[in-house]
Symmetry: C2
Subunit: 279 residues, 2 copies
């Protein structure tokens, strides 16, 4: 057995180098990372040319990042890594509303609105009444729950992607439930859209024969004192991309009814209850 | 079983998304990458905060890269990944000279020199005669073998790290063997030095209780028609960092004798033969 690094002892050679005062959790995470990184090279018998390509790819991903663009999050999202970490950290009992990815388009401090208000400010798209209740696992209404909602507009863009084109705070708002736990607001039936695909991650999706689209969805962050915060979407059930979301965000329980309304105030009606569990 | 992504089916959900016309080797490599990436998150039960930290770290590594600096290669080197890929791609029979990392400081087209020439042009350091033969696995000399050598200077810097301070081509040269396969040149006994450690990788090494030093070494690329090119170093055996090379480049067979000479033309003498195998 060599006292130096060899193909055979590679994992131990690297992990054995960590100092005695390394933070125990950092040591645990890095040990596992090195194990899987080395196993990846060994199982694939990675070539030098592939290593070169990989270094170049990761460098491009890093250099694509800016204040407005996070290409590494996009990479994590498209490899299902973001959804996996979300799933691991938000296991909930059956009946509780599940989480999904936050996404890059949430903005803090959206305007507070009254129940029944309209959040769609650009007059585009097919109007939809969203309503339901925030309840606990026993079905009891939760008073004072904050519902932060946001969606794209009918062209498939969030307001922050089109400053000067869309009105500020278009398709965003914050609602707080009363005694009955109920909420209602008018938005649009959201539409599907591609994730930013003009960078290295978009190129990767192309090489893998994958499209960059997300199925139409409405975003929610539902929070209330004493309860686990729910970060989630509701999805439009008949969307073309429902079973092939580019970031793997769809869950069975998050597909909401979008029912056509005849002669109503809105074209569509989407009822959905949020079931919270204790923090 | 959900038709959507779940914690349980995560690997299959992502890998099952690849299109039918995906390049088979790309499919093989990506399938293996996703498997290990997801296993890493599951085994560590990676938290959301750790995911955030990792995204931030990788972004910093990418943004540190420039024409003069490749921080992702440094990351690969310090995690033993570069040496592992080198080992996988350069398995050689016992007796053949082993490879090690190329490193970032090789420059193409160094000056051709005559056997016995001095490559050290700055007059610094302890002079050393390097000599030996390029032979095949049966011990027969190889004529016309090209030996491309380079090392740091006595201050621990390569000429390209100190333009204007060191003479151009300091401690570099290319030698070609004659009929006897022998080579000899005068350089300095190289010294240990730290890899660039003012970026995120340097910070990582600090958190892991690791130093950034490489043990003293002379670089070689030995090539000859019909033979596998050898990319390697010889190491100074008594170096403090020999068993803790920051990039894991040391191999038993690459530790060369550095013998003190009394009354000779140089202070040191380092004999080493390069044994090549057929390409």
């Amino acid at each position: 057995m060599s006292r130096y690094f060899t193909e055979h002892n590679s994992e131990d050679a690297v992990n054995g180098r960590m100092g005695p005062s390394t933070d125990p959790r950092l040591e645990e995470v890095m040990t596992c990372l090195v194990k899987h990184l080395h196993a990846f090279a060994k199982e694939t018998q990675l070539t030098q040319a592939e290593w070169d390509y990989g270094i170049g790819f990761l460098t491009q991903v890093g250099q694509m990042c800016s204040q407005e663009r996070q290409e590494f999050i996009l990479l994590s999202d498209t490899l299902g890594f973001s959804m996996l970490v979300d799933a691991i950290n938000n296991r909930r009992p059956t009946g509780a509303t599940e989480n999904t990815v936050l996404g890059p388009f949430h903005v803090d401090n959206a305007p507070a609105r009254q129940m029944g208000d309209t959040i769609s400010l650009d007059g585009k798209g097919e109007s939809c009444l969203f309503e339901g209740a925030v309840i606990d696992i026993h079905g009891q209404p939760i008073e004072g729950a904050k519902i932060d909602v946001w969606s794209d507009n009918a062209d498939g863009f969030y307001d922050v992607q089109q400053p000067g084109i869309q009105p500020k705070w278009n398709n965003r708002g914050i609602f707080v439930t009363g005694k009955d736990g109920r909420y209602s607001f008018i938005g649009i039936k959201p539409v599907s859209y591609p994730i930013p695909n003009d960078g290295p991650v978009g190129k990767m999706l192309g090489h893998l024969g994958r499209h960059p689209y997300r199925p139409a969805h409405m975003h929610y962050i539902v929070s209330a004192p004493g309860y686990q915060t729910i970060v989630t979407h509701t999805f439009v059930g008949d969307d073309t991309y429902l079973t092939s979301d580019a970031v793997f965000g769809v869950k069975d329980t998050l597909v909401a009814p979008f029912e056509k309304v005849s002669g109503g105030k809105t074209l569509w009606h989407s009822p959905f209850n949020f079931t919270m569990i204790a923090a």
